[in-house]
């Protein structure tokens, strides 16, 4: 009977020499959930993941995977988890089929080779030596090996890096299927779309800390809606109206100045109304007029900037 969450992180710190890679983070991943750690390079995502995989003990704080200490009890934990490393670690002289065959020997109750090679899109590459695979194909072989032991918890470190868009979508489908089948997944990524598509919940990490966490909707909430248009030639920014008390900001996009308002709460409809009335009164055409809610990207960028200041 599983009552506690399969992944629990409490007050985790990790240091390399004087550098604090993870500076006290806490989160849980619930059974059957996909949780994404989002962040720039050096945010501490991989260090967090590798601690949970049992590659190193926690410097301070506790981590639990399936109720166990993944480093101290790794012999008990490893057979129940699947790990996809961020890079490397293949024997280049083995073929895809040989790699899977050897790995099946290291895995209790392994799946059939066809069960993992086919879905990974490697059926026609089975007899190719691993060193001849493309970067994306190696990532998919990695995923296939991680799934070989029917893991209860799956760790994916930047699973689609180096893949073309088609392979990325195919990989998302595989991961989604794994989650639907009840596997708990923790993944790191710096692709916002990947987190948006896959994650039930996510955390944005920056410099070893979790800056924001929750569902995509929760994380994005409170970050306002965006109204933007290209600044008309004959106007200065200062001449633009304030919308609900908010003044326009200016960004440059493709050599043209773009005016952007960030309105919070219920201000989008009223703001748009005010803007259109203003434009109508001055007979101005607002090129590229755009109104949308805040995206994960907006939140991600403002989180990184805000934390740096």
């Amino acid at each position: 009977m599983q009552t506690s969450p399969p992944i629990q992180v409490t007050g985790l710190h990790q240091r390399y020499g004087g550098f604090e890679a993870v500076a006290g983070i806490s989160f849980d991943v619930r059974e059957g959930e996909l949780y994404a750690l989002l962040g720039t390079n050096g945010a501490g995502k991989t260090t967090t993941l590798e601690t949970l995989e049992g590659h190193r003990p926690a410097h301070a704080g506790t981590v639990r995977v399936l109720g166990r200490d993944p480093h101290r009890d790794r012999r008990d934990v490893r057979p129940r988890i699947g790990i996809m490393l961020q890079e490397g670690g293949f024997f280049g002289d083995l073929t895809v089929a040989e790699t899977v065959a050897h790995w099946r020997g290291f895995t209790p109750r392994p799946r059939d080779p066809d069960e993992v090679i086919g879905p990974a899109g490697l059926a026609d590459r089975a007899d190719v030596r691993v060193r001849q695979l493309s970067g994306g194909q190696k990532r998919r072989l990695d995923l296939a090996l991680a799934l070989l032991g029917r893991p209860e918890v799956l760790f994916l470190d930047e699973p689609t890096t180096g893949m073309d868009p088609e392979a990325r979508r195919a990989t998302w489908t595989i991961v989604r299927d794994v989650v639907d089948a009840g596997t708990t997944v923790l993944l790191t990524t710096h692709y916002l779309e990947e987190a948006e598509r896959l994650a039930d919940r996510l955390a944005i990490m920056h410099r070893g800390r979790i800056e924001l966490a929750g569902t995509v909707r929760e994380v994005v909430a409170g970050h306002g809606d965006r109204i933007s248009f290209r600044l008309p030639e004959r106007f200065q920014v200062a001449e633009l109206p304030a919308l609900g008390g908010v003044r326009a900001g200016i960004e440059v996009d493709g050599g043209r100045a773009v005016a952007t308002y960030t309105v919070t709460g219920q201000g989008l409809q009223a703001g748009l109304y005010d803007l259109l009335r203003w434009a109508d009164g001055r007979r101005v055409a607002l090129d590229g007029l755009h109104a949308r809610s805040a995206s994960l990207e907006d939140v991600f960028l403002s989180t990184a900037e805000g934390a740096d200041q």
């Binding site: 390399y16 995989e53 590659h55 200490d69 101290r72 009890d73 790794r74 012999r75 490893r78 057979p79 790990i83 490393l85 890079e87 490397g88 670690g89 293949f90 024997f91 002289d93 083995l94 040989e98 050897h102 790995w103 020997g105 290291f106 895995t107 209790p108 032991g149």
Partner: protein
């Protein structure tokens, strides 16, 4: 109820060990330069024995004296250099880390590698014994069990030293350098390449503490049935006399096993250092 204990203390499973060894052998077969280290070099050294035939040294045939030295010395190629190269390369290309992400225990991953190396060594030693007996006028070892114990002790010591040295080796290119001190010390100091009789007694005594020296003493005593541990003429030993004569050599081996274990625990690393 099971008490929490560190991974690796539980004994390795035999089936997983064999599977790791099978992987290692497959990879060795496909890596020609590694294959040369474990197969080609011994062949070269064996060829050097032929001109020694019929020239007595220390009261036995020179080719046989030198050949039994090689029997011990091959452990440096097959186990020590082979493992330092292999472990360093695997640490740097992250295959060790990846293997560690499977259900295999640490002792199974490392033990499989040692098993492969030991098999290679056994094949070399077997071939050399056949060569000594068939072409160089040698005999069947006087005490095969003692011979096996000596070779086994050598495998244990040099595997542990390999774990330690690989931890100090930054990348596989550097492995060609970092193995040299131990290789040369063992080559020159264990009485394999040239007899040590001419050296002062204190120096001889010190060189006998090198890790390969006790292996050479045990192997020669076991092969010839004569005491190759004590100084002076190599007197014949009885059925169990060889073990008694080699007690001191086994003590030196045991001490190296303890030292090797400590150094390996201190220096061995599973992952590359972070930049």
């Amino acid at each position: 109820m099971t008490l929490a204990r560190p991974a690796g203390i539980r004994p390795p499973g035999l089936a997983p060990l064999a599977r790791v060894a099978r992987l290692d052998l497959t990879l060795l077969w496909r890596n020609r330069s590694a294959l040369f280290t474990v197969a080609g070099l011994p062949l070269l050294f064996a060829a050097m024995l032929v001109p020694m035939k019929g020239k007595p040294i220390e009261g036995v045939d020179g080719a046989l004296l030198q050949g039994t030295g090689h029997l011990a010395f091959f452990v440096v190629f097959a186990v020590f250099m082979n493992l330092v190269n292999g472990l360093t390369a695997r640490r740097e290309d992250l295959t060790l880390k990846r293997l560690r992400g499977t259900a295999l225990s640490d002792s199974e991953i490392l033990g499989g590698g040692v098993l492969t190396a030991a098999v290679m060594y056994a094949v070399q030693a077997g071939a050399l014994l056949v060569l000594l007996g068939a072409a160089l006028g040698g005999r069947f070892p006087a005490d095969p069990l003692l011979l096996l114990a000596g070779l086994g002790g050598g495998v244990a010591v040099f595997a542990l030293l390999a774990f330690a040295v690989s931890g100090l080796t930054p990348n596989s290119d550097m492995a060609a350098l970092t193995v040299l001190p131990i290789m040369f010390a063992c080559m020159g100091g264990a009485g394999v390449m040239f007899p040590l009789d001419a050296l002062p007694a204190a120096a001889q005594e010190a060189l006998r503490l090198l890790p390969l020296s006790p292996v050479v003493e045990i192997v020669r005593t076991a092969y010839f049935g004569q005491d190759f541990v004590a100084y002076g003429p190599h007197l014949g030993v009885g059925l169990l006399g060889g073990w008694e004569a080699c007690a001191r050599s086994f003590a030196v081996l045991a001490a190296w096993i303890v030292v090797g274990r400590l150094l390996a625990a201190r220096w061995f690393r599973w992952e590359p250092r972070r930049a």
